[in-house]
Amino acid sequence: MSAAHSREGTRRLSLRLGKLVPYLYIAPALIVILLFVYWPLARTFQLSFYQGNLINPFRSYVGLGNYTEMIGSSLFGDLILQSLLYTVLALIGSVLVPVSLAFLTLALTEREIDFYQSLLFVPTVIAFNVVVLIWAFFFLPTTGGLFNTILGYFGQQPRAWMKDPLLALPGIALIANWKVMGFHFLLAIAGLRAIPREYLEAAYVDGASGWPLIRRVVLPLFAPTGLFILIITLIGALDAVFTPIRVMTEGGPNNATNNLMYAIYSEGFRFFRPGQASALSIILIILFGGLIYWQYRLFDRNVTYER
């Protein structure tokens, strides 16, 4: 092989490589995502047609049996309903509250904003199960629990908060929203920062008469951030209540705090029924995908993205 020939070869190689370069950069990440997200997802789909245990999950093929068992279960309706309830509470606690608080900071100085932002963010950096342990003390069923002590001052009987079918779900949601709120507050402030200051000041100085300006100018400019917060809340709502449920109620009392996502965990790792868990997983993915797509379509019409 002559030198010229070989140089020509390398050049051609690098040209060919040149086209391959972006793929080479992406390949490692993509392989990892395929291996640990999409491949397991495909396996879950496959598993949903079998029954077995965690040692032998493919023991017997049952067709759609797991789906009919799960959907036909007397608990399924409650699972859906309570999943929606958690989502609604998340929309209040993790969207409405932090966004409203962020709008309130418009009246504040930079130093004050920094102060609130930093403190409200602290729950984000604490492990979720640690957060739950702290709240478990507040929700203690004894007379000496913090909430029960407060009730005591009002002459009320102590309550078994997390064993009460009506109080347990809001209690779990409270913990989850407390944990997530600060992060969303931060995102909302970021969204406001992107809006030119003079619009905000104009809206603000005019006080109540500034409301039309907020509605027509500020809110549309805030919409992309709002959408982002909304979507991560929808994606994360059931995830956020997962650890509190796992630590405090295991879905109880009598299913009152259960939801689709925790039920998957229960079937898989508490009752060791991977087939049933997988069927619920597929149901969750379908509902989830539908919800996100609907949201996206809804907003795509109204929001212009800044790319």
Partner: protein, 280 residues
């Protein structure tokens, strides 16, 4: 400013202050109870403070819990996931930001859609895979699937920063004959180091705080407990532990590393999220 504006500013301050109190109160109790002598936890419940603080709860935790082992597991687990995700996300975000290639949009969609797959949905297959590889109850077993699970977020966030980067600097570097790898490692990465660092801290904190996954994969052996799993076992173990003072002490010890990290990196983290995450 009008009178109305001044009153509404005062109202805003009051509301924000109350919200801040509500958020901070549980944390004050966490810290306060950890210093309370055991017999004072249920007397004067409403006050998190005590006039006779004690370190006994901390001593008890350090005596009965192999906290150094847990700490080491949490560290290697979080560091492994963080390093892995950054190394994977950086080149991918680079390619998605500056190259045009076939299937780009499809591949990007694949990356982003992976964020919509709840982790719980992949627990069982991932667990079975690790069992096959004999990685259950090991730290590498904890790390591997976590690399894929939120990787899309890192790629997304870095791409947001990269695309807003001055293209002419890149072009200048290219004219100088720099290879794309050099551009990534010598130009793009250093220029975005604060964003990368903030992302790293965010992943680190998130991984450190994982609970369900390390419980499933590492919960079978004390040697593979992370701090979060360890503190939980301490809470639920019916044969030991289980008084509030020491539970709170254990939880403070678990939270301390991430809180310190947050305090040290606060500005950078807040800035990165305020600039990167919300661009769309």
């Amino acid at each position: 400013m009008s009178v109305k504006a001044v009153t509404s500013a005062r109202l805003a301050r009051v509301i924000l202050f109350i919200a801040m109190l509500l958020v901070v109160t549980p944390l004050i109790f966490q810290l306060g109870i950890s210093f309370k002598p055991p017999d004072q936890v249920f007397t004067n419940v409403l006050s998190p403070f005590t006039t006779t603080p004690t370190l006994e709860n901390y001593a008890m935790v350090l005596r009965t819990v192999p906290i150094v082992q847990y700490l080491w597991n949490s560290l290697t687990f979080s560091a492994g996931v963080t390093l892995g995700q950054i190394l994977l996300a950086l080149p991918a975000a680079f390619a998605f930001s500056y190259y045009d290639f076939r299937f780009k949009n499809f591949l990007l969609a694949l990356v982003l859609l992976s964020l919509l797959v709840p982790f719980v949905v992949t627990y069982i297959p991932n667990y079975l895979l690790l069992a096959q590889l004999r990685l259950v109850n090991t730290v590498p077993g904890l790390i591997l699937p976590m690399l894929g699970v939120s990787l899309g977020f890192g790629i997304f966030l870095l791409r947001q920063h990269f695309v807003s980067f001055q293209k002419d600097i890149l072009e200048a570097a290219m004219i100088d004959g720099a290879s794309s790898w050099q551009i990534l490692t010598r130009v793009v990465a250093p220029a975005n180091r604060s964003a990368i660092a903030a992302l790293a801290v965010y992943i680190l904190i998130n991984t450190w705080n994982q609970f369900i996954w390390p419980l499933l994969v590492g919960g079978g052996r004390v040697e593979s407990y992370t701090l979060t799993v360890g503190v939980q076992m301490y809470f639920t173990n019916p044969e030991g532990g289980n008084v509030w003072g020491s539970i709170m002490a254990a939880s403070v010890l678990t939270s301390l590393p991430t809180i310190l990290m947050y305090l040290a990196m606060r500005k950078g983290i807040l800035r990165t999220f305020t600039e990167g995450a919300v661009k769309g």
